[in-house]
Subunit: 471 residues, 2 copies
Amino acid sequence: MTPARDPQDRPLAALVAPDILELLEESPGAIAAEVEELHPADLADVAELMSRAQVAQFLAALPAARAADVLEYLDEELRTAVLEEMPTAQASALVSQMTPDDRTDVLEEIDEDVAEEIVSGLPADARAETERLRQFDPDTAGGLMTTEFVSVSSAASVDDTLEAVRALARSGRKEATYAIYAADEHGRLAGVLSLRELLGAAPGARIADVAWTEVVSVGPDSHRQDVAQLTANYDLIAVPVVSESGHLMGVVTVDDVIDVIQEEQTEDIQRLGGMEALDEPYTSIGFWQMIRKRGGWLTVLFVGQFFTASAMQSFGSELQKALVLSLFIPLIVSSGGNSGSQATSMIIRAMALGEVTLKDWWRVALRELPTGLTLGALLGVLGFGRIVVWQRLDLWDYGEHYVLLAMTVGLAVVGVVAFGSLIGSMLPFLLRRLGLDPASASAPFVATLVDVTGLIIYFMVAVLLLSGTLL
Amino acid sequence: MTPARDPQDRPLAALVAPDILELLEESPGAIAAEVEELHPADLADVAELMSRAQVAQFLAALPAARAADVLEYLDEELRTAVLEEMPTAQASALVSQMTPDDRTDVLEEIDEDVAEEIVSGLPADARAETERLRQFDPDTAGGLMTTEFVSVSSAASVDDTLEAVRALARSGRKEATYAIYAADEHGRLAGVLSLRELLGAAPGARIADVAWTEVVSVGPDSHRQDVAQLTANYDLIAVPVVSESGHLMGVVTVDDVIDVIQEEQTEDIQRLGGMEALDEPYTSIGFWQMIRKRGGWLTVLFVGQFFTASAMQSFGSELQKALVLSLFIPLIVSSGGNSGSQATSMIIRAMALGEVTLKDWWRVALRELPTGLTLGALLGVLGFGRIVVWQRLDLWDYGEHYVLLAMTVGLAVVGVVAFGSLIGSMLPFLLRRLGLDPASASAPFVATLVDVTGLIIYFMVAVLLLSGTLL
């Protein structure tokens, strides 16, 4: 999925759109030549300024391969609407021009029945290919791969291979050509070389002489995030997808990997914010869907917060005796939530990048505890100072035991911040251990956990320090 | 920067490391052949299992170009240490083999004086190139670009161009060859075609006939995030960097763009968690640096939370009369913080993807208000129910006016959640308007803003509903 773009911000699209719209009215036949030099992404921006009927007309006015390119860059919602509304034959013709992986993605988005009809209108080989690819989970390497790639025998000569690549390039088909794969006599993946290496190879050499035999590859069920991580670590432009028997099934190209990285990032940030991943642009998601995505977690967190009321109730007699304690409750519990939120975000990201793994939990805990205590001491001193200064400046009267009260607040902050850092850093490990997404350890989730324990820490410190004076 | 990897998780590295270490002791001359087929990223993993002295030995045992590749994939901290400790001549020889962009990055990381020495040991042309590139801000297109690319005259023939590319590939130099740029008679960038398109072009054609004339490009001062967004939107494998006069200065390749996307994401997530971006892997940052990165925002937020104490103080007489109100303070303020955190994360991400821009603030506000009210109503009913149920089941005695109290809590939650959603969604717009990074609107920042206002909303509702009964 290409991230949504705002056509208004695209000066090029806004510039050429009026001309194209005029041609669409008057001489659609002239459109193809007019827009020949424009990138399909720009044409998609132009299309987003049109009505749906106009988009269908516009696509019909372009050569089929070009129209398919534009379709690929179109905003998902618009693309779905256009494909569902156009005659099935036109839709099939368009979709048949897309690469197998993009075709599968597009069909994934639209109404199941319409997709079936479009697929049944495809040429036999494209239909079989599409049906095969649709079986893979879209979040796996199999769901991302294209099946059009260049594979030759290890025994082939460099010159023949280069000729084959040139023939493919001339045919206008959209194979992933930047990596050339070599197969052994059993057809298993045995080597890889980049197109650049092929061009640089000595004439007369065999592929086996120049290919790299240690091939970085994934299985069809590998999660897309692992594919992305491999691409980033090895600076790949294509990741081969290999079956259990060692045969090359397809290739995930770097442009799709970039989309994966961005989508995963969007999910992580939304989860971290305490909601379900939207899976759709903010601008196109429906009202009730939005409520559902946000309401679920809000409800869970709210019910979790019931425990704060229970905790407060259990310290009811202390509160009654020293109402002044209640004044600092938001200050204290929030300091724990904040430090917890920091620790959680950091660890989730470090996990996503592979900087820390499950077995590092102990090392992280040993690091977060002193960090939390130090940060807590910093804030604790501030909290202590806040009360003493307000009292001395006569801004508020906390009573004769104000120093004890200030110590209570200060010490409670140390405990709460240290505890928050620890919980916040450990929660992602716990979630991963349970097989859940560590990014579900949202800032609000951590804050809720820490709020309840923070109250208990606060009142326990109060009982300890203030018994005999305020309590 | 390649994200840090954990060598222990790399079975390949762990597998070959013992052999390589043994060879390093006994016959370093045999190492190059032994590891010939391994990807430099894997060799870097192996190096990370060695002592620093061994790493220098290992690099010396590899052909210079290969050693430079390994150096590029090495963990930043280790690379810095190794380069700083090895003889300057060896370091210069190694670094001279890197592409100009990687060379500049590596020099950026190490001690300024050592970097100067290494640069002065480079061959004259590499030295001039490096000094020129080091002038660019690393966060801009100029700081990311490599200056080794393929540029030909528009008038050149396809066949000559292909021959030139093959000669380059044979020379073993690491030009960015997947896009070929065409220059007009004044040397200005006039077209682009992919290597695939070059291979597929009809023999005898001129570059001008087959190149795309609408070239997507950036200026040297473009922010790296814009380079990344262009790459994602147009599915590019290289982004040309063009001077104001229209001349091609360099090329940013897709592997560097992936690193940029990951680094920007790390920064966004850490800021969203309420801290400064670490700019270093979690595992390698020092204790006091960590305290500084986290302590700053924690302090600001803590001081911000002082206002909650002030707000509570100003409602001191109400609290005195109806202590029961204090029981629900954490519950109510946290519900606002949570809804605000959701809205902020969502809008920050939508902004980063270009889904919403500054001028959409009004549209977003009009959307968040009803969303917030609906979510607030959902939680408000739960809050109301919580009090009534606890009372009816004799779990706690909230007094004879418990229904009024339940209504107060319920209504306050509606107001606080709606307000939280609104503030949370508007804050990123405000920050961007002020020229700041919208991602600074962290979840804890929003929570703090909402905590203070949430308390005021709560007590105002209480005064409204409970005057004459509890108050």
